[in-house]
Point group: C2
Chain length 666, copies 2
């Protein structure tokens, strides 16, 4: 508003550019996409009067200095849209520019007037001057061509003859290419776009305690023993192997079995109480192996076609080297003591929290960055972050950006089980993926509502869900009470509703013994060595394998926003579908959410939206049972028995081959 | 994000403040309120961990340098709210600050721990240190009192005795008043708030051509003759008298009757073709009088308790002094000619447009400002702006701010009948009020939809509708075909749906002769002198008087956001209500939108929302007919005959007096 006589009209932004989409909080935070996506951006773009406008979507990666431009088109009601393709795993910037398309404005005016048989001598002079100016600015071939066309445009010719040249399409394109960008206006913000690799959106996670992968109940298993488990985990179809913390475990206030405060001398303690005299966050617990053993294990995971995710828990046991080396990082009470961690009502007597607000906060933050970069140097690019909502959001925003500047392929999963706005802001601030409330959404309406929020609201621009069926801290009620049927349908829900999902090992064994009245595991391996029988009766290994295979084979399941809920006339039956943009992969999922009783439902299949005609016979192929059916129309009845198959995943297949298509028909 | 070791935690904004409401386009534009309002602001405010927070709404007028603070309260789910009252007609700024309420955080922690019988020696030391620090910062009485309380808090006392002092309410208030604002975070934007006078929201406008207020068809009336009309206009209940342009009218290409291009020598021309050798935008057309006559007229309008609004039309006739004095303000074609104005398909051969993009644009803009300030010096504070959507939005944003900096009571009404986004952005950029699509919204659903957008969407923060029933350019179809009944119910709609509304004179005479097939008046007074019989048969003067009196007497009609639509089981009957916050003024309006046939409808009166019990007898008082009725329950049947009363306005009155309330009952 502080204009002076010397300001140029461009400084007052003569064109209105507003309502830009996508944009998070007015550009405060970046949006997220994945490599291979197309960014479609739209905006309201308009100006006073009747000029014809032109608009460009400008973009560049943060490594580039020049802007690329993609032309935008007017859609309707002053709304414009443009797009560009995302080829690189890096940060992009984008914004919008607009200007008056002077020559096109002139063309439209002169066309109207000549059609109304009005006199247009002055207009022709005006138009010719526009062409002359463009010719002056053009170079090489364009200049030559413009000059040639100008020679054909003789002011002495008849109005009709001049118009013939003036309205020529080639002339129009040449002039538009070289005319001045009158009223040039740039949107007042540059918006950020994080383009992650595809694994940021799509992947199946498997969580283990590496010390509980062997056969000896007296000691923890080693990385070498873990390696033996890899083929079985891979065979189940997982993409990411996530390890709970692998660092030396504190001795002071070490927890015993079932979180007891009275451990026996052989109790290994919680791996979340990090650090002892053998090292801290950049060290490996000796009973697992050395850092070289870790490196070998990491390579073995890669060799299986999987990727490792580490747990990043900024917890320090009272024995962590930081406590001695950096006493300034810990807040002390007037009596000199340090408070142990609490997450009411939970108490972590074996853990100190660092103080992110201490005088040397910058030293602390940089040390955290060093730790992440240390593991990145050891091949780890995926980090599941423990309780990020108890550390400053600004810290995460800084840390993730710093790390991704060096490792754009780094993926951070936020384990924030907390209030909704904190969960969202952590995602906005940079977390690649987030744990969700899926764990506590069991029934039809609440699942529908929550999925609608995740896939339809503004959250879809920045919040990527990762649906864990269970975690070492959460054994949901539905699994405790619903048993094997619940384990099956909760797996189907997680794996088909969200492109990223995970199970904490033991899930495939239907392990559901809980502390009475709590959502916690009885005899949790957080506090003891465990030996598991991975083939124990009633296990779901085959079922998990089937579901992961269905995910891999069906690209519709690799997306979130394509989720649609459809009608099923039974409140226990959830019915939904996903479909690729090209409609070549159409999946329908029907789930009986009641683990106790068989349910029947009439499903309403939206055949029209799949391009299937009302009277067309199509095939439903149940990818779990391999049963096939022929169907016509919208209504399809199912019976889902939790003891048999609580869920059905159908591929919808059109009967495309017709005799008319074959050579021998002719 | 560019932190350095020297940054303070405050620089990373440790507290998240987002989702601030109200806010227009991320703070790009101001919101609007009126003197006497209360600004209620809310935001999501939260922080990592479990600290108790405090938040303040900060505000100041642009003339003040220090911020006032109003405490905000936590509502629910990290949402906070606060408010302050708006006493002054000026611009305000507001923003939000938040910090950790360290002492309250400590109080809650120590309370929980002591209830759980945990040891709290260290906590007590911590708490006492907080009190000591506050005592050090306090002054005068607070310091003395804090020091006295500290003396009672003896570390040698029992835990219980210490807690008794520690949890004392007085101590808490004293410490909170003087504790440091740890983690102090300011919202990153200062938001602007324009507080206008009440007339910006509420008023009845009456538009006249001042030259057509007399009795002589051979010449235009003078300001003196206009003055004679004032008592009648005031008697009808109008607040604002709006004059079409009063400046000298051009002679070149002057328009004749019915917009003809062949005027007779005595035709006065369109007052929108401004300027001739007798002056331009700061001159008065001599046949109306002198500037002194204008001043006298302005005072006479004020003396009647009304206010004048002038038309600001940036149109120059080819004879306007600017054309000679500032040829650089007009764009010329290569042949030296200046294009006349067009608003396709309308042509204004008698008007040149200035070029807001000319090299001397700043000189032009400042001259426009000088013109407005000239009239402000002559007592005019209301401007109805002609076709603002054909001038740069940035110009209006600049001009209105510049004028309101000197005259905060200046009111600008935007006459932009154009596409929706342009209408909205003009309001955002500063226009106090706006013409609307009301003119073309005739039926139940479209009226409901449009009113819902105006009163419920984000528009309510910045867009104040002024519902004109008609204008010199628009004689709506419904009036042409619907006749007197339509004139009545369109008046009721305008006057009760919108707190600001207006009629163009002649409306009260049911003038509806149109150019065939157009929405334009036949023999429009835009192009000729007119003499009106203000008492002609069939006039609505009494009806207009009644409706304006009802508006004045019922404060519920002075608001927009209190509009609620209710059920009526007839698609021609619109039923709605307005109610003051204290529910002392409750109005219901039922309108038969069909001017051709009587309609019956069962109205559903939401008695519960008015605090009326289901079995309570209440009174409906029809303020138009003065009929009263006694009603119980929700259902009330009406018959609205367009030939009698197409609309009913009911005051809802509870039967409040009971024998128990009177002295003699006892």
């Amino acid at each position: 508003m502080g204009f002076t006589r010397k300001s140029k009209p461009e400084e007052w932004s003569p064109i209105i550019i507003e309502g830009v989409h996508p944009e998070v909080d007015g550009g405060r935070y970046p949006i997220k996409r994945e490599v291979g996506d197309r960014l479609v951006a739209s905006a309201d773009i308009f100006k006073e009067g009747h000029d014809v406008l032109a608009a460009v979507l400008r973009y560049r990666t943060i490594k580039e200095t020049i802007w690329h431009e993609a032309a935008m088109s007017h859609i309707d009601n002053d709304r414009w849209s443009g797009h560009f393709d995302l080829h690189e795993n890096t940060r992009y910037l984008y914004t919008i520019g607009a200007f008056t398309n002077t020559f096109e404005s002139w063309r439209q005016e002169v066309t109207k007037k000549s059609q109304a048989s009005e006199r247009i001598e002055s207009e022709l002079l005006e138009g010719r001057a526009l062409v002359e100016r463009a010719a002056k600015r053009a170079v090489e071939r364009d200049k030559t061509r413009l000059e040639a066309l100008l020679k054909q445009w003789r002011p002495s010719d008849t109005q009709e003859a001049q118009l013939g040249v003036a309205l020529d399409e080639e002339l129009s394109q040449l002039v538009e290419r070289h005319q001045e960008r009158t009223a040039w206006t740039l949107y007042d913000r540059e918006l950020e776009l994080v383009v992650d690799r595809v694994r940021a959106r799509y992947g199946a996670w498997y969580e283990i305690f590496p010390r509980s992968q062997g056969n000896n109940p007296e000691r923890g298993s080693t990385f070498q023993e873990c390696e033996k488990r890899l083929p079985a985990i891979k065979a189940m179809g997982f993409d990411v192997l996530y390890l709970t913390p692998i660092h030396p475990i504190g001795r002071t206030n070490r927890k015993g079995k079932n979180n007891s405060l009275a451990p026996t001398p052989t109790d290994p303690g919680s791996p979340y109480a990090i650090g002892n005299e053998q090292g801290g966050h950049d060290a490996v617990e000796p009973s697992l192996g050395t850092i070289d053993d870790f490196d070998r294990f990491e390579k073995a995971v890669r060799a299986e076609g999987m990727e490792l995710a580490l747990d990043f828990a900024i917890n320090c046991s009272p024995d962590h080297p930081y406590v001695k080396q950096h006493p300034e990082w810990f807040a002390r009470r007037p009596d000199g003591t340090i408070k142990y961690a609490e997450n009411p009502p939970k108490k972590y007597q074996d853990i100190y929290n660092v103080d992110f607000y201490c005088d040397d906060w910058f030293g602390l933050w940089n040390e955290m960055k060093r730790v992440i970069l240390f593991w990145a140097d050891h091949g780890v690019k995926m980090f599941r972050v423990d309780n990020p909502h108890t550390k400053p959001v600004a810290f995460w925003e800084w840390l993730i950006r710093e790390v991704q500047d060096r490792h754009p392929d780094a993926i951070f999963l936020s384990e924030a089980f907390t209030r909704p706005k904190m969960m969202k802001v952590l995602a906005k601030a940079g977390f690649t993926q987030s744990y969700t409330y899926f764990t506590w959404r069991n029934f039809k309406q609440e699942l529908t509502d929550y999925m609608t929020e995740l896939s339809r609201s503004g959250m879809k621009e920045y919040f990527r869900p990762n649906f864990f069926t269970n975690t070492p801290d959460i054994l949901p009620e539905i699994l405790q009470h619903g048993g094997r049927p619940a384990f099956k349908f909760r797996l189907v829900l997680a794996a088909t509703l969200s492109p990223s999902y995970g199970i904490y090992s033991g899930y495939e064994l239907c392990e559901n013994r809980a502390l009475p009245g709590k959502e916690e595991y009885l005899d949790s391996e957080k506090y003891e060595f465990k030996v598991w029988d991975w083939d124990r009766p009633g296990n779901l290994v085959d079922y998990v394998t089937t579901i992961n295979r269905i995910r891999q084979e069906n690209p519709a399941l690799h997306e979130l926003e394509n989720l649609e809920f459809y009608e099923a006339d039974n409140e226990h039956v959830l019915f939904y579908g996903k479909c690729t943009v090209d409609r070549r992969n159409i999946l329908l999922v029907a789930v009986n959410l009641n683990p106790f009783h068989a349910q029947e439902a009439r499903l309403r299949i939206p055949v029209g939206s799949f391009g299937i005609k009302p009277d067309e016979m199509y095939q439903l192929h149940n990818l779990i049972t391999h049963q096939r059916d022929l169907v016509k129309g919208e209504v399809y009845s199912v019976r889902l028995d939790p003891q048999a198959e609580p869920a059905a995943i159908y591929a919808v297949r059109r009967w495309t081959h017709r005799e008319q298509e074959f050579d021998y028909f002719f």
